[in-house]
């Protein structure tokens, strides 16, 4: 789809996903690393716990469908080479601290002077400017700043984050969409621009608009073990089954209450509650609780009924029921469960890319969308350090063998 679109990917761990998505969509993505390799290659976990630049699972995860070159931007020759590459590129993605590349003469204004059609995508924790633009960051810091973290965890303990870093995946995925809006505009106007993605703002979408509460005079939302507190209403989302945990939506309102009504009919048929409990006004139930017409204790009792029902079945049994009757119940899967889920297998979702040197087939989550005319394909395993130096510098940039040799000796490549 994006064939012919050339992308320079200068990102660190903050932005790797963006280039991978563009690569999946058919762009020619060139990962630019310092000599010796990206710092991401030193991130844990490592394959079989043995370190090595080609063994970081972190690196594997977000660098497929990219070619790789090395280039030392600390040298003026290296910067010249990057300018030459940028002159021929359609997009550039970077995730350094704001202003860092400008000190090398490689900021947006520098490169747009060479290539006015360049789309220059910057991914940072807080954005290109503003009072926190220079703040030191990490996944946890951005999660805290965004408003996500206060929603996660058990109410009697500190908030917690997801155990696999997520903040820059949200930002990186946003950056891909943003880059393509700018690229689409370029097809109309011939002009590039700078795309400024702040992870803090990207994460607004990860909290279901609760970030707006204070601006509109609504109740704050807070965390609760396996659920959410909305004002006085404690909504559980994680429930016990006979052999583990399931999620179940037990909510109200004119849309969600219909599901609850259906579920309570079934629960009553199975003898877990009386008809009066079944026949509560589940559509208006939230209002009844908020206005005190229904005591919270009665809601707690109804939740106890649902809990007893779910505890009477295995995860598989309640999921089967959910599929049969349209209940909102699903088991809490482990990664092994995900890998053996018949849905993903039936859709041939899992994709493998062979790595002959490691004697291994890397198993990836498959295409993020299925295109009828231009399907996503996994064409390349993640590049080795400098794997495509020769084909890019010699064949595509037109350097001679001797020039390349000199640059390698000078530590530029």
């Amino acid at each position: 789809m994006l064939n012919g679109c050339r992308v320079l990917d200068l990102t660190t761990e903050r932005g790797l996903l963006c280039g991978q998505m563009l690569g999946d969509l058919g762009a020619d993505v060139i990962k630019v690393e310092p000599p010796g390799g990206s710092a991401v290659r030193a991130l844990k976990p490592f394959f079989a716990d043995e370190t090595g630049p080609e063994r970081s699972v972190y690196w594997w995860a977000y660098n497929r469908n990219k070619r790789g070159i090395t280039l030392n931007l600390e040298t003026s020759e290296g910067r010249d080479l990057l300018r030459k590459l940028a002159a021929k590129a359609d997009l550039l993605i970077e995730s350094d601290n704001p202003g860092h590349l400008s000190t090398y003469g490689l900021g947006y204004s520098d490169l747009s002077a060479i290539n006015p059609a360049l789309v220059y995508v910057s991914i940072t924790p807080f954005g290109q400017d503003g009072p926190k633009a220079t703040y030191a960051d990490s996944d946890l810091i951005v999660m805290a700043a965004s408003g996500v973290l206060i929603l996660y965890g058990d109410e009697d303990r500190a908030p917690i984050r997801m155990s696999v870093p997520q903040a820059y995946l949200h930002a990186g995925a946003d950056a891909a969409g943003a880059a393509l809006i700018a690229y689409y505009d370029r097809l109309n106007t011939g002009l590039g621009q700078q795309v400024d993605v702040a992870a803090q703002e990207s994460l607004g979408l990860a909290q279901q608009s609760t970030l707006l509460s204070a601006t509109i005079g609504g109740d704050e939302t807070r965390r609760m073990a396996g659920g959410v507190k909305m004002g006085p209403i404690r909504v559980p989302l994680v429930w016990e089954a006979k052999d583990g945990l399931v999620t179940c939506v037990f909510l109200f309102g004119s849309a969600l209450g219909v599901f609850t009504r259906k579920l309570m009919n079934y629960i009553c048929e199975q003898g877990f509650c009386d008809q009066a409990t079944r026949d509560k006004d589940w559509l208006a139930y939230g209002d009844l609780l908020l206005t005190g017409r229904e005591p919270i204790e009665e809601y707690d009792r109804a939740k106890g009924v649902v809990a007893a029902f779910l505890r009477s079945m295995t995860k598989a049994e309640s999921f089967d029921l959910a599929r049969q009757h349209g209940f909102l119940i699903a088991p809490l899967a482990t990664i092994d469960d995900v890998l053996s889920n018949p849905q993903f297998i039936a859709r041939e979702y899992w994709q493998t890319i062979e790595d002959r040197d490691l004697g291994l087939k890397l198993t990836y989550p498959g295409p993020f969308a299925r295109f009828s005319a231009t399907p996503i394909s996994y064409r390349r395993r993640p590049p080795r350090v400098g794997e495509h130096n020769r084909e890019i510098y010699l064949d595509e940039l037109g350097l001679s063998d001797r020039e390349l040799g000199d640059l390698v000796r000078q530590g530029v490549i």
């Binding site: 972190y58 030191a136 400024d196 990860a206 707006l212 908020l290 295109f371």
Partner: protein, 405 residues
């Protein structure tokens, strides 16, 4: 004068509803697309019944969740069970470049609005279907919300304390991931069409998009056989690393030290420079091993201060730290203010309210986020008259026939 917006030549017929779908078309509207949001009069969008609500008013026009996901769109309400409504939809398909929908897989086919039918009317149409598990496969018809997909994808089992049951991410996690991939997919299809004239059908399974965020544990599980379970705030690359108590009710501050430099600066800032020389904490590995002791020492210091004081003192020394913000903090956050994150808009029924700004900034063609979400059926007349060019007679027939519900 502002530049012409990037998507001002794109017309979207939007059947998206609930959470994962409408976020895609909201972004398209931000950047200039004309988006007509169809709402079925038979089934209210569930997000209209979910908070946060303006002034805690639970009426259908006061949900900030719906408002945030649908700002800038035009609203048309139709009773899709009426045959006259079908003719209106097909007229809109002829008008549109893009049709989007997020019903469970059987719905569009039942109405006769599946891709093959739409393509017969508009050969180069791009159609994006977004549903929980995908259009095919044994779970295709397993409909529901993002918390179900998040559980099936393994996200719930990755948030929690090691000594307790997992607590899961906040609510419908895959709904917060899928729109980002859906937007990129849609833009790639529009670029392809602009170059070749070819439209296509896109089947987005929200679960399949979201699993990109678990590529690391999936690769690692298959390659190395490692088992993943929740580790609270532990981290492979940072120590100390955690959420520390601050003065006040449910107030917390995040601190993350990656380098020896961060650690030394932290020790100095909290007035314990001798800790930097303590062999128990001399290396990253040692700090990670003695994290519990570190947490106690740091917590004793942070609980005497507001989170903002800790954040500012540590950041001034270059140590990654931040207040764990709630919506009240965010509303006063100078960075979010600087970036105009909260945008005031006027809603036809709810009056003055707020939406979040575009999640990204384009330097030459900044997003236009100035219009609120539509009230139910707010633009029906405008769409019939100005976009479809219907005569007054035709419009009054539709109204009299109950097509608008």
């Amino acid at each position: 004068m502002a530049a012409r917006l990037p998507l001002s030549d794109v017309k979207v017929l939007d059947f998206m509803w609930v959470l994962a779908g409408p976020g895609i078309t909201r972004s398209m509207a931000d950047y200039g697309a004309t988006v007509i949001r169809i709402e079925s009069t038979n089934r209210v969008d569930p997000t209209r019944t979910v908070g946060p609500f303006k002034d805690n008013n639970t009426g259908a026009e006061y949900s900030a969740l719906y408002g945030n996901n649908n700002a800038g769109k035009l609203g048309l309400s139709l009773d899709l069970t009426k045959p006259e409504a079908r003719a209106v939809v097909l007229d809109l398909v002829r008008w549109a470049d893009v049709v989007t929908e997020s019903f469970s897989p059987k719905a569009m086919r039942a109405w006769g609005f599946d891709y093959e039918s739409l393509r017969a009317v508009r050969p180069d149409i791009i159609m994006l279907s977004s549903c929980l598990m995908g259009q095919t496969g044994p779970l295709a018809r397993f409909a529901g919300f993002g918390n179900l997909a998040a559980a099936l994808c393994g996200f719930y089992n990755l948030v929690g304390w090691p000594d307790r049951s997992p607590s899961g991410p906040y609510s419908a996690y895959t709904d917060y991931i899928a729109p980002r991939f859906g937007l990129a997919a849609m833009m790639a299809a529009l670029i392809h069409r602009k170059r070749t004239g070819q439209g296509q059908y896109i089947d987005q399974a929200q679960a399949e998009s979201a699993l990109q965020f678990l590529a690391l544990p999936i690769l690692d599980t298959v390659a190395s056989g490692r088992k993943y379970s929740p580790i609270a705030n532990d981290d492979l690359e940072h120590a100390p690393h955690g959420i520390y108590p601050a003065g006040g009710e449910d107030r917390w501050v995040a601190i993350a030290c990656r380098t020896d430099g961060h650690w030394n600066a932290l020790c100095t800032t909290i007035g314990q420079p001798q800790l930097a020389d303590d062999p128990r904490f001399g290396t990253f590995a040692a700090r990670r091993e003695h994290q519990a002791e570190l947490d106690r020492v740091i917590g004793e210091w942070t609980r005497l201060r507001t989170p903002l004081e800790t954040e500012q003192m540590l950041q001034a020394s270059g140590v990654p730290a931040h207040t764990v913000q709630d919506s009240h903090d965010a509303n006063h956050d100078p960075q979010l203010r600087h970036r105009d994150h909260f945008v005031r808009v006027n809603h036809a029924v709810a009056g003055e309210t707020f939406v979040e700004n575009s999640r990204f900034k384009l330097s030459r063609t900044p997003a236009d986020v100035s219009r609120a979400s539509p009230a139910i059926g707010q633009h029906s007349q405008h769409i019939f008259e100005k976009i479809l060019g219907y005569s007054d007679d035709r419009i009054s027939e539709l109204v009299a026939g109950g097509v608008l519900g």
